[in-house]
Symmetry: C2
Subunit: 377 residues, 2 copies
C-alpha cells in the first residue's frame, strides 16, 4: 500500500499531558506535526494570532506555521514579529517589540501568541502573553532540543536582567506545546548538544534508567537518529510534566530541575549573555554540582566518572571559561532565585544515581573548594 | 477617662475581606493604622522589604512606614525606591528602577514589596511584585481616595503603553491592603475629588442606596468629614471585594467596574498621561457612558440629571477636553482591553438606578452620537 500525503500527515502524535487542573495542557510530539493544521487550530480560540519568532527560525518555519494556522480557516488573521536571535536579546527592550506589534495589530484578550523558536523565544513570548492585557493565551512551538525537552514545558517564562538570568517573569502555562521533531533537522550541532545537557539532567536527578539509556544511545542522539531523539524528547517531557504537575510554582521539588543551573547561570551572566549557549553553561555547571556533591561525600566517584564520560560524548564543556572568576560566581549566585532569606540553596546529587536534594544545608567549605577547583582566579 | 497614646493606637480597624480561596486577604480601614506595627508585620514573612513610593509621598509617610515595619522587629531590613510622581511615569523605564533596586538590595523570593502611594504606585509595585523572580509577596498601603476605594483592591496591576492605558500587567493579589484614613489629610483637593469618581461609580452600577447616601453626603466628603470618608471607603471596598471575589480575572461581572473607563482611558491617552487625573477622566467618561445609555433608551433622564448634579458637587469635569477628537477616541478605544474579536464592549447603565450591563450589543449610532455630542472635531 502506498499511503497518500494526507494519510502520512495524519499520523497520530505522541501526547504527554501536563496535569494542572483547569490549566492542564497536552504536549504533542512527532514528525510532521506542523503539517497537521488541526493540532494547532484546536487551541486557537480568538481571531487574531501573533507569531513571535527570530531571524534564524523565521526563514525556515514561519510560512509553515502561518499555513498551519490559516489553512481551511478563514476565521483567523496571523501577524508575526521577528526578533533578533540570541540570549543577549532576552531583555525588556526586545520584549517591548512584542507588545508594540501586538497593540499595533489590534490583538485583544481573546487573541493568541505563538512562540516559534528556541528557549529564548519561548520564555519571552510566554512572558509577553502573561503580561499583555494581563494575560492572553499562547502556544509553544519549540524548534530546539533545549526548548523541546525542557523550557517550553511547565510555564516558566521571563527575561534576563543585566545582573542575573530570568529575574523578571511569570509562571504562565501555554494552551499546548507542539513539538515537530523534523525541526531538529535544521538545528546547528552546537545547539543540538546544548539541549542534551537538560536530557542528562533528568537522568541524574530522578530517572537512573533514562540515564543508562542515554549512556548507550548518546551516539545515536548526536547522529540525530529520529527514533532516539523522539524517545529522549518524550521521556524528558514525561519527567518534566510530572515534576511540574506536583510543584508548579517551585516551592520545592521543581527546583531540582535546576541541577547545575545556579553555577550555569553565573557562567552565562559572567561571560556575557549569548556567548555560551544555555546548555553549555548547564553542562559545566552540572560538573561543578557533581564535584561539590562528591566533596560532601554524598555520591561515590563512579557517578562523577559517568557524568564526565557522557558529557564527553556530547562535546559539551565540562568547566567554566577562564574569564569567570570566583568573585563573579559568588556575586551572581547571591541574586539567584533560589536564595531565601540570604541563604543560597543548591541542587546536589545524594545517594545512588537518580537521586538529588534541594538544600541550603551543606558545608560552605565544599562550595568554596569546588569554586576554587574550577576557577583560575 | 483619658486614654493613653497606645490605647488610642490599638483601636480595632474595620476589616473587609476579599474572598479568593487561598489568595484571600484583608483590607484594614481606619484612622492611625500606620501606628499599629503588628498590622503590617503579620503580613511580612521574609527578612527583606522594599518600599516602593514616590517623591510626593516619601517625605510624608516613608519614615512612618519604615518605623511600622521595623519597630520591635530586628528580623527585617527595609530598603526603599522613590519614583517620580505621576501617571506619565507609569511605564517600563520607571518599572525597571524597581527591579534594579530589588536586585541590588538582594531581595529574594521570600521578600516583600510594599506599595506606598496612590494608584500609579500600587499598579507599578504590584506588577513588579508579580514579575520579580516570577512573583513575590506585596502589600498595598494606598494614600489617595482613588487607591483606597478602588485600585489597591482586587489585584489589577500594570503599566501603560504609549498607545494605551494598563495594556501590560498582571492579575496579582496583595497579602493585605492597609488603609490609614489619616493619610487623606495631606491629599490635594484635586486628588480628593478624583477618587470620588470611583465612589460614584459603585453607586451607579450596583448600589443605588449608596448613591443616594452620596447625594446627601457629598458636601461632607468634599469637606473631608472623617466619618463620611471612612464610610465611603468601607462601602466602596465592600462593593469592590464582592465583585472581585465573584470574577477575579474579569470574565464578565468585574468589567462593570469600568463604567466610564473606556471613554476615560481614551481621554487620558489622548490628552497625554498625567495631564488629567484618572478620576477626572473617569468622571467625564461616566457622563459620556450615561449619555449613551440614555440615547439607547436604556435609562430615563432623571438618572442623567442626578449624575450631572452629583458630579457638579465634586467639581469634577463632565466633558472631555477640546483637544481630544472623535478620531482620537476611536483609535484609543480600538485597543481597549474590553475589545474581543474586534468588537468593543462597553459598560452602560440599563434600567433603574444601580443597574448596568457589559455588552457589545448596542446600536453603533448611539456611540457615534455620543462622541459627536462631546467632541468639537
Amino acid at each position: 500500500m502506498n499511503p497518500s500525503l494526507s494519510e502520512t500527515h495524519s499520523a497520530v502524535p505522541t501526547t504527554v499531558n501536563v496535569d494542572l487542573g483547569d490549566r492542564s495542557y497536552p504536549i504533542y510530539i512527532g514528525s510532521g506535526l506542523l503539517d497537521q493544521p488541526h493540532l494547532l487550530q484546536r487551541h486557537v480560540h480568538g481571531r487574531r494570532v501573533l507569531v513571535v519568532t527570530n531571524t534564524t527560525v523565521a526563514p525556515l518555519y514561519l510560512d509553515k506555521v502561518v499555513h498551519a494556522l490559516t489553512t481551511e480557516n478563514s476565521n483567523v488573521s496571523v501577524e508575526s514579529v521577528i526578533l533578533p536571535d540570541g540570549e543577549q536579546y532576552k531583555d525588556m527592550d526586545t520584549l517591548m517589540k512584542v507588545f508594540d506589534k501586538a497593540i499595533e495589530s489590534r490583538l485583544d484578550r481573546r487573541s493568541t501568541f505563538v512562540a516559534l523558536g528556541g528557549g529564548v523565544i519561548g520564555d519571552m513570548c510566554g512572558f509577553a502573553a502573561a503580561s499583555f492585557l494581563r494575560g492572553i493565551n499562547f502556544i509553544q512551538i519549540p524548534t530546539t532540543v533545549m526548548a523541546q525537552v525542557d523550557s517550553s514545558v511547565g510555564g516558566k517564562t521571563g527575561i534576563n536582567h543585566r545582573l542575573g538570568k530570568n529575574l523578571i517573569g511569570a509562571f504562565y502555562q501555554p494552551q499546548c506545546v507542539l513539538i515537530d521533531t523534523d525541526t531538529l533537522n535544521t538545528l546547528p550541532e552546537r545547539e543540538l548538544a546544548s539541549g542534551f545537557a537538560e536530557v542528562i539532567k533528568y537522568g541524574l536527578i530522578r530517572d537512573a534508567e533514562f540515564f543508562e539509556w542515554q549512556e548507550k544511545n548518546m551516539h545515536a542522539l548526536m547522529a540525530r537518529d529520529p527514533n532516539a531523539l523522539a524517545y529522549a524528547i518524550k521521556r524528558s517531557c514525561e519527567n518534566k510534566a510530572e515534576v511540574v504537575s506536583l510543584d508548579e510554582k517551585e516551592s520545592g521539588l521543581r527546583a531540582t530541575l535546576n541541577l547545575g543551573h545556579t553555577f550555569g547561570h553565573a557562567i552565562e551572566t559572567g561571560v556575557g549573555y549569548g556567548q555560551w549557549l544555555h546548555g553549555e553553561a548547564v553542562a559545566a555547571g552540572t560538573v561543578m554540582a557533581v564535584d561539590m556533591s562528591y566533596r560532601l561525600g554524598w555520591i561515590d566517584d563512579s557517578i562523577v566518572k559517568r557524568v564526565g564520560d557522557i558529557l564527553k560524548q556530547t562535546k559539551l564543556p565540562t568547566s567554566p571559561p577562564e574569564t569567570v572568576t570566583m568573585d563573579m560566581f559568588k556575586s551572581v549566585m547571591a541574586v539567584d532565585k533560589k536564595v531565601a532569606d540570604g541563604l543560597l540553596r543548591l541542587i546536589l546529587l545524594k545517594g545512588p544515581l537518580g537521586n538529588c536534594v534541594f538544600t541550603g544545608d551543606y558545608d560552605r567549605k565544599a562550595l568554596d573548594d569546588t569554586l576554587r577547583a574550577f576557577c583560575k582566579s
